[in-house]
């Protein structure tokens, strides 16, 4: 296996009595687009700051391409950052901003302007080189910040909630662009966000963080479809968690007893353990069919039309919280209606933590 672009070894960070990070071990593969995802206060920005050199960890090591950079200041690290507020230099032209890093590295003027031009073309702002920062829109500033960070060809590009200040439409558009640019330049991107949709749209690998620890690491499909923990299952999109107990366990298959009945699920757990089953709203159906089993009858409490689907909540006997449903576009339901629910046990995910 080749050397990872970034490796965290036992990173811990304490601010006074408060532990912001507790023993983070993580390897990030060269050329991948990694998203650190989690609620605010989960430690993701702290981890990014430690990678950028803006914070020194209380314990542990940071390696970039195999070299220990734990004690190296930001200026000497092969990383650059796209900051949340962009932090552009208001007193410089756009070309001055983008060329700053090259100037600091002593790149001669002619080569510098050629590379600046190339970087501006890459973000689609080649015509703006001589303009000033305050003449640009938010989305354009974002791109300049990206060009400024990428032009010095860092080993790792850090992005600290870079799309947070943009409106939704521009945000979606920039996500696609970020992804495309990352594929083109092949640089390792480490991106921090609390928006799980954004994470799924752009990431090769999602690192779910909560309370200073890593909850789950994997490609978006895996993290969404087979979450590793209750936290991940709840944080990544809507979900229904059904608490239960393991009745039997054998050969990677467990029988779980829940208020909705007993199910045979893929997974490992000890007999007698309390577990939860994750069941996505889109995996609950009103019709039987395929490998689906009947779960029982539910009373619709609320229903809303979301264009592509109807979002409903429905109460079922034996469950404390209402189930979230996502019914097909054409399946109209009214509050108060009683519907039968079915699900494929293959869609259920066994959660042991």
């Amino acid at each position: 296996m080749s050397t990872p672009a970034v490796e965290f070894r036992g990173i811990a960070m304490h601010f006074g009595d408060k532990a912001a990070l507790r023993g983070i071990d993580l390897a990030i593969a060269e050329g991948s687009f990694v998203v650190l995802l989690g609620p605010s206060g989960g430690g993701k920005t702290t981890l990014l700051n430690i990678l950028g050199g803006f914070l020194g960890p209380t314990a542990g090591q940071v390696l970039i391409k195999g070299a220990d950079v734990t004690q190296v200041p930001p200026a000497k690290r092969p990383t650059t950052t796209v900051f949340q507020d962009y932090a552009l230099f208001p007193h410089m032209s756009i070309a001055g901003n983008v060329g700053f890093g090259l100037k600091m590295r002593g790149v001669p003027k002619t080569e510098r302007s050629a590379r600046v031009e190339k970087a501006l073309d890459m973000v689609g702002l080649g015509h703006t080189a001589l303009r000033r920062i305050h003449e640009l829109s938010g989305g354009q500033r974002q791109r300049i910040a990206l060009a400024r960070a990428l032009v010095v060809e860092p080993s790792v590009l850090l992005l600290d909630e870079p799309l947070g200040a943009l409106d939704l439409k521009l945000r979606r558009q920039m996500q696609e662009e970020l992804k495309a640019i990352q594929k083109r330049v092949g640089t390792t991107f480490v991106h921090v966000t609390h928006d799980q949709e954004e994470a799924m749209a752009i990431a090769d690998v999602i690192v779910v963080m909560n309370d200073g620890a890593i909850e789950d690491v994997g490609p978006p499909e895996r993290v969404y479809l087979r979450p590793a923990s209750r936290f991940t299952a709840n944080f990544m999109g809507d979900n229904n968690l059904i608490e239960g107990r393991v009745a039997r366990a054998e050969h990677g298959c467990v029988a779980v007893t829940t208020p909705l009945g007993g199910f045979d699920i893929r997974g490992d757990a000890e007999a007698g353990a309390s577990v939860a089953l994750s069941l996505r709203p889109e995996h609950l159906h009103t019709e039987a069919g395929g490998g689906r089993v009947a779960l029982g009858r539910a009373t619709v409490m609320e229903a809303g039309f979301f264009g592509t689907h109807h979002q409903c909540s429905a109460r079922m006997d034996g469950l404390d919280t209402p189930l979230k449903l996502r019914l097909p576009q054409k399946r109209l339901v009214q509050p108060g209606e009683v519907i039968g629910l079915h699900a494929d046990p293959g869609d259920m995910v066994l959660l042991t933590r």
């Binding site: 950028g52 803006f54 200041p73 930001p74 200026a75 000497k76 990383t79 650059t80 950052t81 900051f83 507020d85 932090a87 552009l88 230099f89 208001p90 007193h91 410089m92 700053f100 890093g101 600091m104 590295r105 400024r148 960070a149 010095v152």
Partner: protein, 265 residues
């Protein structure tokens, strides 16, 4: 719609007040300037018609011109020193966690509240103790004492999160500490630097008590004017006073034009 006459009557107290207030402030200066053009030996009414001979006398007076040059040298040099020291202190206190930062800040700004007379006496005693001869250098030191707190306070108030983020970005892009300061911090807050420098120059230009007490053979313009006044009033003193006033006005206008107009734009 209000009757025009009523509008005028209503506005009358306002305008009278404004006229009185400005008259109170500017009448002495107006009289000073007017009688600098007095064509007689005494600057008192009646006004005998304009002449420029007193200005001629001022500009051909080598002692006055020497004092003027001294004032400029002391003003510019002491202001530069105040600005550099004030900026460095403000940068350190705004960007780093220093032990006793609150105390340091208090001590730095404390001289603003002390009267110039007390500062002058303190300096005089200190220079005597240390055996430092009274000269333009000691006057300059005195002016640094009064202007450093001013420069510090102005610059410190302008060093916010906005610049801190840009400084962080510069470091991230490979800038060394001196480059961060020279290429990012200073250009971003230059209006504040410019304003503190000009205020310092005007304060030093006007300052009398310190300059009087800690100078000896080479004196600054206010001290020279004071010694002229001791021999009695004549239109020449009015002329030199008008000239000092003109320079101060020019400095303020320049400051306004360069710093505040730009910020509004």
């Amino acid at each position: 719609m209000a009757h025009p006459l009523r509008t005028i009557v209503r506005a009358l107290p306002v305008w009278s007040y404004v006229t009185l207030l400005y008259g109170f402030i500017f009448l002495p200066v107006g009289v000073l300037v007017l009688f600098s053009f007095q064509d007689s030996r005494v600057p008192v009414p009646p006004f005998n018609g304009p002449t420029l001979r007193w200005y001629e006398a001022v500009f051909s007076d080598t002692r006055l011109m020497d004092a003027l040059a001294n004032s400029l040298v002391v003003g510019v040099a002491s202001s530069l020193v105040s600005l550099v020291l004030g900026f460095l202190a403000a940068y350190a206190l705004a960007r780093h966690r220093l032990p006793g930062a609150g105390l340091l800040q208090g001590i730095l700004t404390a001289p603003l509240t002390v009267s110039y007379l007390i500062i002058a006496m303190g300096l005089l005693i200190t220079f005597n103790e240390l055996g430092v001869p009274k000269s333009l250098l000691t006057v300059g030191i005195g002016h640094v004492v009064i202007n450093l707190p001013l420069c510090f306070a102005i610059v410190y108030s302008q060093l916010g999160e906005h610049q801190a983020n840009a400084e962080r970005a510069a470091r991230d892009l490979g800038a060394r500490e001196w480059q961060v300061m020279a290429l990012v911090t200073v250009p971003m807050i230059w209006p504040a630097l410019f304003a503190s420098f000009f205020l310092s120059v005007t304060f030093s230009w006007d300052e009398f008590i310190i300059a009087f007490m800690v100078s000896r053979f080479d004196v600054t313009l206010p001290v020279e004017i004071w010694s002229m006044l001791r021999t009695g009033l004549n239109p020449k003193t009015n002329a030199v006073g008008s000239f000092v006033f003109l320079i101060s006005i020019a400095a303020v206008l320049l400051l306004d034009l360069v710093v505040f107009r730009r910020r509004r734009a």
